[in-house]
Amino acid sequence: MTKTKTGMIISALALLASVGWAQAKTVCYVTAADAHAYATPANEALEARAKELGIEVITLSQNFDVQTGTEQLNTCIARKADGIILWPLDPQAYIPGLARAQQAEIPAILINSPMDEQADRFIVSFTGPDVYEEGEMAADSLNDALDGEGAVVVIAGQAGNGTTIGRVGGFVDRLTEVGSKIEVLDTVNADFDQQKALVVSRDLITRFGDGIDGVYANDDTMARGFIDAWKEAKPGEPMPPIVGINGQKDAFVSIKSGEMYSTIVQSPVEDGKLAIETMAEILDGKEVDARLPIPLTVVTKANVDSVEPAF
């Protein structure tokens, strides 16, 4: 009996342990995850700014599962939210949900990641960095580092993930576009995971050895994995130039010490703030631009001291 009660109390508490109900405008925020190095500060910034703006936010976490996200859009519509901020994890899958939101006359914007062009007619705006653009910037940076020539390896995120697709696609397309002579030796998936990156890097180093002239990692965490593997396998030998993305603190340290060539800073705080501010304007009936980028900064040894790390 007591056990039943305990369980019930726990579930009751879980339901109650959250923000109360107020008669403010309600925005439904479908985020990528609520426990993630980038997403968490973005979520926090978004929620903090919303409070200042007097907007009620319902945060739904997809926990990196697209299917959950598509169903959460339905929750938002059923909840009769005044606006939807979606963090898409797939370029396609949310389109029908967004279409339904439009039918229900709920304005929707995208945060952080883009979707396919087909989605454009269902959204009011897209705020945030462009992962494809980040790939392009990384390509430019690595092209600079190698003087447009050499063999590189790409350590990619999770296969099939929207960010991975954008960051790898932008990189490869850009290299072709500028006619770079950089050759991609291999692209391996390490799921944005440092340990997995460490393991695949060990294998890459064994396989190609000194044939690796440069490295492009889809994020700084995985760049870290390559650095560790290199130091392990070839202690004392000079590190090939490594380009990462995100602008984490430890990447800044690595750039200063020369272990990394560059990273691209995108601030999760800016990302979150911009999204809610844009939504607030939409709710006030103002016109907003269809594309509202957050600043992306390439950080190398040259400017590392003047830029703030993202997180």
């Binding site: 426990a35 993630h36 190095a37 968490t40 998936n189 340990q195 294998d203 994995g225 396998a233």
Partner: protein, 337 residues
């Protein structure tokens, strides 16, 4: 206990014998015993023929280092399978527990106590699963799934979901250092494996584990504390995963809640490929490690060959199914009457 299927109450010796334990023809016997050794040898030969980098000290150290972390989990998982506990699916949670706590507690109580506390807390998670499985009688899959979900949720809540960074680079240097050219982490793995092997094959606890997996009721009627033995297997696995996680945290000097994802399946794969029955009552740590070595070498060869990640998963899946199907087939053919 009314749900226990009706037992036979008469002696039919041929039928009472578990198929697995029948004698067979020498060839079949050799195949089932030495199959794994032959397979490892085949991978070695193929690897050295196809890649100039394969048969190098560097590559072997690389393979060993890569398998050390999952290897420690494999040692624990062997106990779970042998005791008839099916599988411990809470491994990702206990690894995360070890990794995050060993880093997060460093500034508070110092690196060594943090390390110990991380492992102890992981062990506590195993104790909860173990109590549910051994004493309450809950199916291990459900219990470890549930406990794993809860623990992972708590761990995420505790750190607010962000990455925890290390504050003491010396600890990282220690874990990454080498002794006689062998990485310390590999030595730790070997020590755990040797201790695990000793406990399973030479100690009374190990004998109890095998007996409980072989026939739980008979072991219980032989004054074996079966509930504790079952629970113990899960505690052992959790301590191993905790240790694994702590070492992982120190190596990476950063830890995320999802750091342990996938390790449970890698460990089960190794144990199963090592020829250890999921039904329990049979198996040893060296067999499980042989399975791990085979899987790791094969993966290494595939990576050196530039095989794509999805294909690697495909091959691994085929390997698990094939290894077990072959095992079943060999034992059946060897069985006869």
């Amino acid at each position: 206990m009314t749900d226990v299927p009706i037992q036979m109450r008469q002696d039919t010796t041929q039928d009472t014998t578990n198929e697995r334990f029948r004698g067979g023809s020498p060839l079949v016997d050799l195949l089932s015993r030495g199959g794994l050794a032959i397979a490892i040898l085949a991978v070695l030969v193929y690897g050295s023929l196809t890649s100039p980098f394969f048969f190098t000290t560097g590559n072997f150290v690389n393979v060993l280092t890569s398998m050390a972390i999952v290897g420690i989990v494999v040692v624990g998982m062997t106990f779970v399978l042998v005791v008839g506990g099916l599988a411990d699916l809470s491994v990702p949670a206990t690894i995360a527990c070890g990794a995050i706590l060993s880093l997060a507690l460093q500034p508070v109580i110092g690196p060594v106590p943090a390390f110990a506390a991380a492992i102890a807390l992981a062990g506590l998670c195993g104790l909860i699963s173990g109590l549910l499985i051994g004493y309450v009688g809950i199916n291990p899959i459900i219990a470890t799934l549930g406990v794993g979900t809860i623990v992972l949720g708590i761990v995420q809540a505790a750190v607010g979901g962000v990455i925890v960074y290390g504050t003491n680079p010396d600890t990282a240097a220690l874990v990454k250092s080498r002794l006689f050219g062998i990485p310390v982490i590999v030595l730790i793995f070997l020590a755990v494996a040797i201790i695990g092997h000793f406990v399973l094959s030479r100690s009374y606890w190990g004998r109890w584990t095998v007996a409980t997996g072989g026939n739980c009721s008979a072991a219980e009627a032989s004054a074996v504390p079966v509930r504790a033995v079952k629970a113990g297997a899960f505690v052992i696995t959790a301590i191993c995963s905790g240790l694994s996680g702590a070492l992982l945290g120190l190596t990476l000097q950063s830890a995320r809640p999802l750091v342990g994802t996938g390790y449970e399946f890698s460990a089960i794969t190794a144990v199963v490929v090592g020829g250890i029955s999921i039904m329990g009552g049979f198996g040893s740590v060296p067999r499980a490690i042989a399975g791990l070595v085979f899987v790791q070498l094969l993966t290494n060869v595939m990576v050196l060959q530039g095989v794509r990640t999805p294909v690697q998963g495909f091959v691994l899946g085929l390997l698990i199914a094939g290894a077990v199907a072959l095992d079943v087939a060999l034992r059946k053919r060897g069985g006869g009457a």
